[in-house]
């Protein structure tokens, strides 16, 4: 109520200076993060960036070297996994092979009245559309069905927060997209906070309310998918979330409209400050997504190298006079043919100035 920063509300997850050291290796390096209740959050990064270790610390499988974990206002840093109001869906699903689907889902309901537990298992089976399969053994199910059993089992105890380690990693391409939608729908219905770990930027953008990008144990940028895609704070984030053109240059003076000039070897372009606000004259790069590159009569001179038809768009390879390559993508239609000379430009709002 009247909290100036609503996502710092105490009902969600709050991490303060969370650190994990394995010997001399800093796997997770001072993570500060606050999630609001019911938020769908994605930790995105390549393997080895510390995202799984971070997830395992929240679940309680790895004791942090430093820092605190709070959930719903309660400090859970020192609690063993079985005392935490947090559940995890494992990458390999970790279904108990000697138990039926129903017994797997009901495993966490020990201590509840039998009838209540059975009703809860039935409800969860319906939620993940596995009604009637309760008596089956996990090994008789398809990969997608197993994934849904794992989800139902992890939701059985109505956790305050659900952790999902590469939830779609073991599924075929076609099934992944279907399952992404389902996961999203289940989360919306339950309003349970989800923290997903993934190395797949498309998955992260499709699922999450906010994405946290990790690099070498640090959380380098946090924000909604569109913001991260359009306003990356570093070359690393820009490259991780999709194809990007990087044009090196030297920073010019700021102008009243908020854009800044960048002097490149090809000419001067205008772009938006990515937030790092370097001094005039600093070496920077301008990051432009291929779909923001316009080909026409004005801008930097370039030659079209090739054009690849991709159905919904055409991707063109361009060469600038100094030999550097860029990519432009546009809806299919008229455009310069390979070998043609053209000029490229972009709106200053679509180009971000990043530290070189």
């Amino acid at each position: 109520m009247g909290d100036p920063a609503p996502h710092l509300d105490t009902a969600g997850l709050t991490l303060r200076g969370l650190t994990k050291r394995f010997g001399t290796h800093l796997a997770v390096d001072g993570i500060d993060l606050a999630l609001s209740e019911g938020e769908f959050f994605c930790l995105l990064g390549p393997s080895g960036c510390g995202k799984s270790t971070l997830l395992r610390m929240i679940a309680g499988f790895e004791p942090p070297s430093a820092g605190t974990i709070r959930l719903g206002g309660q400090d859970i840093t020192g609690l063993p996994p079985h005392r935490r109001p947090v559940n995890m869906m494992f990458q390999s699903y970790a279904l108990f092979p000697h138990m039926s689907v129903a017994a797997n889902i009901g495993y966490g309901l020990k201590g509840r009245p039998r009838a209540e537990a059975a009703a809860r298992v039935d409800g969860l089976l319906r939620l993940v559309r596995l009604d009637g399969l309760g008596d089956r053994r996990p090994e008789t199910l398809s990969g997608g069905q197993r994934q849904r059993v794992a989800l139902a089992r992890a939701l059985a105890r109505e956790p305050g927060l659900l952790l999902l380690d590469e939830p779609l990693g073991a599924l075929d391409r076609g099934l992944r997209e279907e399952t992404q939608g389902e996961l999203r729908a289940v989360q919306r219905r339950l309003r349970t906070g989800f923290v997903v770990v993934t190395h797949d930027p498309e998955e992260a953008m499709m699922l999450a309310d906010r994405i946290g990008v990790m690099e070498r144990g640090r959380l380098v940028q946090v924000g909604p998918p569109a913001e991260l895609y359009r306003r990356p704070a570093s070359r690393y984030v820009a490259g991780l979330l999709g194809d990007v053109n990087l044009i090196p240059g030297r920073l010019g003076p700021a102008s009243p409209d908020g854009t800044r000039a960048v002097v490149t070897v090809h000419g001067t372009v205008r772009a938006t400050d990515g937030g790092s606000s370097p001094a005039e004259g600093a070496e920077v790069v301008v990051a432009v997504r291929p779909e923001s590159v316009r080909l026409g009569a004005e801008g930097l001179p370039a030659t079209v190298l090739d054009a690849t038809f991709l159905g919904d768009r055409v991707r063109r390879g361009l060469r600038l006079p100094d030999g550097s390559a860029l990519r432009a993508s546009a809806p299919p239609g008229d455009g310069p043919e390979p070998g043609a000379a053209t000029r490229l430009s972009f709106a200053p709002a679509d180009a971000v100035i990043l530290p070189a």
């Binding site: 079985h82 970790a94 108990f96 000697h98 105890r157």
Partner: protein, 303 residues
């Protein structure tokens, strides 16, 4: 009807050496033993009748077959001594197997849960006793268990007992000896199964609110049953026929088939009866061996 493909023939050839081995060193000796068990003892060399007369042709065969009889098996069935020895063997082996499961399970579990880099060393420690002769290790137990032995000395010094205990030449000594000698055969297969269990299964159970004890009873132990079955069969089968341990550590009243067999063979020179005991032993252990095979098959099914 196509001729078998060359790789099928190769597959059959590969199976040949173990088959020949089995024939030469198991089936043939067993056939001889079976034949002797159907003979009568005699003061002769070899000390049994009848002996197959190869020169006698068909007549020799028929007289040989007529002379075969089941007297020895009837003796085994009727005589209290052999019934007691059979039950004794089963009881000792069964009790020792139960003890080994109780003792071996926590040891195997501790091995499987030990830090990765320590596991090879710990497994080696389980195997190290094999570097000393089995016989010498059992003799060492005599030195430990006798009245003025190490065990009594320590217990007296600690004040646990006031007078030396009689352990040697009792059932307790036999149980100690059996458990000691066969422990690695229980621990190693069980460790192999437990070590291969996906650690995320334990984590998932903990995540779902299970205490460490509940995780062990509901996840680790049920999934380790193939290992327990393998270890139990591996221990039970040779223990039923065990001779050295009851002979060296047991008392005169320790009745086990291995001992009876030995005394029939060497003391009474009743080869046919000893052979019948050997056949009986084999019949007893066929069950556990089948169980062992099944548990191996179960292990193959899990990916």
């Amino acid at each position: 009807m196509a001729a078998p493909r060359p790789d099928r023939i190769a597959a059959r050839l590969v199976r040949l050496p173990p088959l020949l081995w089995l024939c030469a060193f198991f089936l043939l000796p067993f056939a001889i033993t079976l034949k002797i068990s159907l003979s009568e003892p005699a003061t002769a060399i070899p000390p049994y009748l009848p002996v197959l007369d190869w020169q006698g042709g068909l007549d020799g065969w028929s007289s040989f077959l007529e002379a075969l009889n089941f007297t020895n098996y009837l003796t085994l069935a009727r005589d209290d001594l052999y019934q007691a020895a059979t039950l004794g063997s089963l009881a000792y082996a069964g009790a020792a197997t139960a003890l080994l499961v109780l003792l071996g399970t926590p040891i195997a579990y501790a091995l499987a849960r030990a830090p990765r880099r320590w596991q090879p060393v710990l497994v080696a420690l389980v195997v190290v006793p094999f570097w000393t002769s089995f016989l010498i290790r059992i003799y060492a137990w005599i030195a430990i268990l006798k009245q003025e032995g190490l065990a009594n000395l320590v217990l007296l010094k600690l004040g646990v007992i006031a007078h030396p205990l009689v352990i040697l030449n009792t059932d307790a000594a036999v149980m100690i000896g059996l458990t000691y000698a066969y422990l690695p055969f229980m621990v190693l297969p069980l460790y192999a199964v437990m070590d291969r269990l996906d650690p995320s299964l334990r984590e998932a159970a903990a995540d779902l609110g299970a205490s460490p004890a509940r995780i062990f009873w509901t996840v680790t132990l049920p999934l380790s049953l193939p290992g327990i079955a393998a270890g139990a069969a591996l221990c039970f089968v040779p223990m039923v026929g065990e001779f050295v341990i009851p002979d060296l550590l047991g008392g005169s009243e320790t009745l086990m088939l291995g001992r009876v067999l030995w005394s029939e063979f060497f003391s009474n020179r009743d080869w046919p009866l000893a052979a019948a005991v050997a056949v009986l032993l084999l019949a007893i252990v066929v069950g556990p061996v089948v169980l062992f095979r099944e548990s191996l098959r179960g292990g193959e099914d899990t990916p």
